[in-house]
């Protein structure tokens, strides 16, 4: 909760269990207003319309609304939400009397005693125009969470680490290699490491932190082609792919195009 404003209270969580839909609506609206993280669990349908479109019939799901405008709908399976909306969206919540949902006519669940038929969460995005609609027939829990989170994730073992490693010890590529630039621009994009071998030939290095397939080889090939044209028609440009390993198809592609491979891990481990 990076909303560490001076007015930040101590961290807290407020929960309603089996609330009437109108009470749930009020708690959610209040949570959005106070820029809390809001969760709702209950029986709902989900509709998405935008770049693609989707429909999800009734089931019990967990919905999270973040103060930055993100929305997540999770089932009990999978790491990914079944539906979502990215940060920057406008969240809205309201009760809907008109939206009777077939198959749920006999309102025997909780939250149906206030005359409303459904609690609707709406999340809107522009550019592209996209809309996420979660319609709850029954709400089992609503929570709002506030807190502080000043720290950021420190991640290591990335491609950036691999680059650092190679720049600090260029001989890991091959004896006599001299790095001259990183992120060197070419018409085909920026080259990871640009340098010279012991014979003075231009070397293009493409780094990948993990085992690579044909895509990485094509990428390296585009860089080599672009640099060959950029320098001289008959320039001798070597292309070297650096990664822990390559797939068979990628290895064949490397051979076909006269490219090389050096096995190296992001970390010394």
């Amino acid at each position: 909760m990076t909303s560490g404003t001076p007015t930040q209270q101590s961290p807290h969580a407020v929960t309603l269990e089996r609330p009437a839909l109108e009470d749930a609506r009020e708690a959610i609206a209040d949570g959005i207003e106070r820029e809390a993280l809001v969760t709702v669990f209950g029986r709902c349908t989900v509709d998405y319309e935008g770049r693609a479109s989707s429909v999800l019939e009734a089931g019990d799901r967990h919905v999270m609304l973040k103060p930055d405008g993100a929305a997540l709908v999770h089932t009990d399976e999978g790491q990914q939400p079944v539906n979502w909306q990215p940060p920057g969206c406008e969240h809205d919540v309201y009760c809907d009397r008109a939206g009777a949902v077939d198959g749920d006519e006999d309102n025997d669940g909780a939250g149906d005693d206030d005359g409303t038929d459904a609690l609707v969460l709406e999340s809107l995005r522009s550019n592209p125009d996209e809309r996420l609609l979660v319609r709850f027939q029954r709400v089992l829990q609503v929570s709002t969470f506030s807190g502080t989170d000043e720290n950021e994730l420190a991640l290591s073992g990335t491609e950036e680490d691999l680059r650092q490693r190679l720049l600090e010890e260029p001989a890991l590529l091959e004896p006599g290699f001299t790095p001259l630039a990183t992120e060197r621009a070419t018409p085909a994009g920026a080259v990871d490491i640009y340098g010279e071998d012991s014979a003075g030939r231009t070397v293009v290095v493409e780094l990948k932190r993990r085992r690579v397939g044909p895509d990485a080889v094509s990428q390296l090939r585009r860089y080599v082609d672009a640099l060959t044209r950029d320098l001289h028609a008959d320039a001798d440009v070597r292309g070297i792919l650096v990664a822990p390993s390559v797939t068979d198809r990628a290895e064949r592609l490397l051979g076909e195009h006269g490219l090389e491979f050096v096995s190296l891990e992001p970390t010394d481990g």
Copy 2:
């Protein structure tokens, strides 16, 4: 909750607010045991070690453990979890007396009155070996959720829809185009649509549901190269990229390699 076993009770949510760490541990262990979806909100540190490694210092975060073994750690920002574990992991929860965390020596929060220093959630994966450790100094809420979710997401507007559209109406590509196969195998991978134009020339079609960059052009190029070699040395193989639009760099690449582009959306909208 697709765990729709015959013994499935009615959907329910159980919540503890500001529990002692040992009570939290018991509720979480019970939730994991009953294959519920478990959430924990509180002040925690997060460590990940595996393909890469990461450290996240103390802050208030929302953790979700799914019955399929997935784990998600969410801050109040971003659509993506700050740390996670994929489905298939083993979840474990225990209280830790030894793990005193610097900067939190004066235990003034809730849940510190039972003599334990931290509540630890551990999520283990094998192949690759990866470990996620969430250590709570303070727990503000624990919830366990159960329910039923029989329905699956129905998504449209995908690349598959684009393929269907083109197969039903091949003239959308160009008059006289005849599709002969989908997913035709080549040494470079499977071609989306393989067919013939009105002059009997082989046509390779690569589909993308959205605006494409250089990667898609390289992919198409690999297919055309592979098929040219596969058929005859002097075979005339056309490569056509079908997508809503292309970037400038991709367009230039298309021209360089004699490939073509047809603008088409996944849906008629």
